[in-house]
Symmetry: D2
Subunit: 346 residues, 4 copies
């Protein structure tokens, strides 16, 4: 189903090569002033063609808000919006009508539905994440009214890791806070792209200002809800919180976060191995998690595969694709985090 959230929800629709994509934000509180230029600015961070290391598909990605606001203020009624599709090269995809690209959703959609829109991946295209960015951008402004900020950044591409994070990640096109690593990452992506290949990596996200008490015990734990949200992003294969998998090798005595009090009397922990979450509920410390993206499966080289009749064929892949999705996925990670928090805090 295409609705995210329980109380504050985003419902989305639209195929990569249909007339438009769009969505409905429901349960958004009334009387929140929304800066629509900032909504568009978030979309621009995800926009294809924003740099030479992203896909060359050109979409203006202008969002048109259709309801739910009066004179720049939300009214509490649902916010409908659409983004028209423009630069559709549907002809690029005729070969795919009867061929399954390896590690794409072509085969699984066909198995599930018995029909699929093969043009540009149809609904399985990452293009749908644009609608999530719109929803997240509304939620970000809502969360800001409560002092909550969400910031993601690229921390690994291939084997290149950010070590010395001193810069604004928005200061470079790969969105990495380590300027030296950023330079290496960009060069790696350029090489990978020249080879018609792709590369994966890791994005880290940090939420600050979140009060203690957010998240529910058992089945709506903050980590479960955030993790589920991240695992809905195309190409994500893993998510970890706080010390994550590394912490699994450790002893309890190394890992517990000792409580103390801040000068203002508030309860803090001296370390944050828990990543701001204990028992599934925020403890007031920053929430920290990491999201692993596999290399996307679209290679601009010949690939062996099968067609819908089970015959072995060679696919001469064309189309326009991202050699590395991480730069454009940073705003998507933030958007999904914002949607999750706004829903849980509703």
């Amino acid at each position: 189903m295409n609705t995210f959230g329980k109380n504050l929800t985003l419902t989305t629709f639209g195929e990569s090569h249909g007339p438009a994509i769009g969505g409905v934000i429901d349960g958004f509180p009334p009387r929140i002033a929304i800066d629509t230029d900032r909504i568009q600015a978030e979309l621009d961070r995800r926009r294809p063609g924003q740099s030479h290391i992203t896909t060359s598909r050109r979409e203006a990605d202008r969002v048109r808000i259709l309801s739910g606001m009066l004179d720049g203020i939300t009214t509490g009624t649902p916010i409908g919006f659409i983004i028209e599709n423009a630069d559709q090269h549907s002809a690029d995809y005729s070969e795919l009508a009867s061929t399954f690209r390896p590690s794409h959703a072509d085969f699984t959609y066909q198995q599930k539905y018995g029909i699929r829109d093969h043009r540009g991946g149809g609904r399985s295209s990452a293009r749908e994440t644009a609608t999530r960015v719109v929803g997240g951008a509304f939620c970000r402004q809502l969360l800001e009214t409560r002092g909550i900020t969400i910031a993601a950044r690229t921390i690994q591409v291939g084997n290149i890791k950010a070590l010395n994070e001193t810069a604004d990640p928005e200061s470079n096109i790969v969105r990495c806070a380590d300027p030296d690593a950023a330079k290496e990452m960009i060069e790696l992506i350029e090489r990978i792209k020249a080879q018609g290949d792709t590369i994966g990596g890791i994005i880290a996200c940090r939420i600050t200002g979140l009060p203690a008490g957010i998240g529910d015990p058992l089945f709506d734990r903050l980590n479960s809800r955030l993790g589920a949200a991240m695992l809905t992003i195309p190409a994500v294969k893993g998510v970890e919180f706080g010390m994550g998998f590394d912490g699994c090798a450790r002893r309890g005595s190394e890992m517990i976060d000792e409580f103390s009090t801040a000068p203002d009397g508030s309860v803090i922990t001296l370390t944050n191995n828990s990543g701001g979450i204990q028992g599934g509920i925020s403890n007031g410390m920053p929430v920290e998690f990491r999201v692993g993206f596999k290399p996307v499966a679209t290679l601009l080289r010949d690939v062996n595969t099968i067609d819908s009749a089970g015959r072995h064929v060679t696919l001469h892949a064309r189309g326009r694709h991202d050699p590395c999705v991480l730069p454009r996925a940073v705003p998507v990670v933030e958007a999904m985090a914002a949607l999750t928090l706004a829903d849980l805090m509703h």
Copy 2:
């Protein structure tokens, strides 16, 4: 909220030191023959006191099924069940009424609710996972009627990793398929326990027989739903699918799973880096994922912390706890996977 699932659901209740815990399974199909001895057998795998490396709390954990069956067959109506609590040492916990154990849910529950049942962790106790095992045991039998099996195993404790997985994981008390590693893991847990400390690790799970087409695009992807389920288990800090985080450093050309056809004509992939899921939907190959558990935070040694008035105090921890939760978490991982699949396939 305490309901898991959308179409086939488990709703649970109960505190560690209340009179009973229990649950309701709703949406379970009619006319499924259920072997209730096997339900109990699953509970026994999770039971405290099952070996010298688990907590010494003694609970018979006998499940009493109250509805939804007629002569051993499900009727399609909700299945209610309870498990009476027996071995409650509530006096062990009087100190905790006003003290927050580090890295436990004491502080976060207090912040969220302004009240908490401090006895044995109350609702935040992992004791509630017994009700999930009951729900999962019903679903396992349902899935078996469709040829689906779910098997989890311990693959890492501390820094000891299973490398040569040749044995039945149920053949040793740590539930590891590498007999040599199992021996080392048990020795490590014995040492850790003697020190009043705890240790984390990793559980792997494999689902076979799942047909292609399970999972929904976008927000109910199979990996998102399974990942969310795992992240609801106490102490879980990470989850990854297929090649997981390791695959994030790779190139697309290394990672794509080439399609082929099996002798029976069915579509297979020659590798399974995707872990059986593409575009959020199962592709018919085995589903593979790993779940990282932090070391539990209950140390049987003095710990510095604060009380509810913000005063620094030393906590003289008592009670009965697991030095390593992994052996008892294996059936919980399986149960949550079974609940997730039964819900998605409903």
Copy 3:
């Protein structure tokens, strides 16, 4: 599915002739003092055998609360409860294993599930409403902390209508506020019962103290949610709000509720034809609605019907049944209203 509500939910289970019925209340706020004697008192109002005009089945209907409370105060965790079944005359029902009682759920359950618990109607028995009364009794106490009261009463049995409502409806066994009509209703039910027949009627419900602004536009309108709740009660065939069907014959100029202000400055309406709801949202006036109950279908006389093989048979009905459900349905109407409001106000 067996869960009522979205944010504050009641999930129920149990068959008429199984070992026990019960439920789970989830989302109930923490720190609410609950008088458990009053929970039991509500159950006693619904209890079979409470007077000579109700069924002679004898059930103590003692509720056992298993979780969610500490020292008489709710903790915010789910409230599990069970009611053991005692007086089961299952032998009375052997004839029904293969025969469909007219206008009962025997046939429809068999069609839906291919299996049914025929003993006493199984899950379709009105016995399950006892669990709703428990859930409603908790919610009533929650609503009282906000000054909201819910009171239902019998206003019609057969063709006898309450006209002069001056008494406490709890002062007579038919729960009617018109003492003269109550006397006639009781006599009618006695005659009907002697004939092995049954009779229908109408219950009215009034909610006071509800603030303006409760209910959501569109699909969660207060009248839709209350109406849906009433239509889940066995034997209910109609529901109407304010002037209801009678108002449908009127002109707008007769029906609009003119606004004015009360001495305390609050907005009121001079009439209440809308029944306290405008645009699906409460307007601060009392909410008024009526619920129509058909005569129950269980006749203590021979009835022509068919069996599961389609053969015409005569059913010699036995068992113990209510000649008129209204007296015992009054607390069920209140319970469902309380559950609905507590959920919407959550």
Copy 4:
């Protein structure tokens, strides 16, 4: 919230005087051929200005489908659509920015949200039902593939009742199957309109071809779900099934529907007092229910009311309104029934 349904859902957005209204249909099955001309034809039945007894607002109400279909066939992905607003006389409504129309949602929205779009009722305008008609039109075509038909008709306007239903209700502008009554109803509406007044009435709906077994016990009973759907339609104040409120005065022996078998061996009932539903589940007979509409509250005459400061004012109502909503509500009743059934049968 603005989503209807659980498995097959309609999410809607849009204000009366915003740029557009629209919605998303999710969970619609793949591989269903959709005749989009018939979608538009349903909208035309609801269109304002279709006859001299409806509002004179002129809207082409052209639906634009944005996703979820490929070459006239559904793909299983969400169906997004919009309807642009055209004939907005927003200036007509300036007086309403600070004045509450009696028996409208102006006051309740203001109380709930602290802000409202006063132009044409904003979200509370019945204009939003156009999106429901689109959703229902898709579901109608889906249900037709299973042999299910839904037909509603006007049976009462004011005190004029249809008695001799022999004609196609679509053959006259009031949509009544009794030609003589239809003539009287139209004359009554003309008189009422000339007086600036409004009038209520009753719509009946009949569902044929529904197999036995649809609807769930307890909280998703077919009557509850249909009733809830009807009570979400603006101006609806009552709903009843089968014999409805009239049957509440009857005896069980008069009301039970005796089973028999049809020549083809299928189980039927000799009467249909239950309206096709027993125990909340369809029994294979036609489903019959009636929906009561109050007279709409917008009078084209001076009305006494209060403004947002609590001052008594006279409202000089303008705008364009329906003297009787029933003719245009007939397709809305059908649409909500279609959405309900498609969801329950999913």
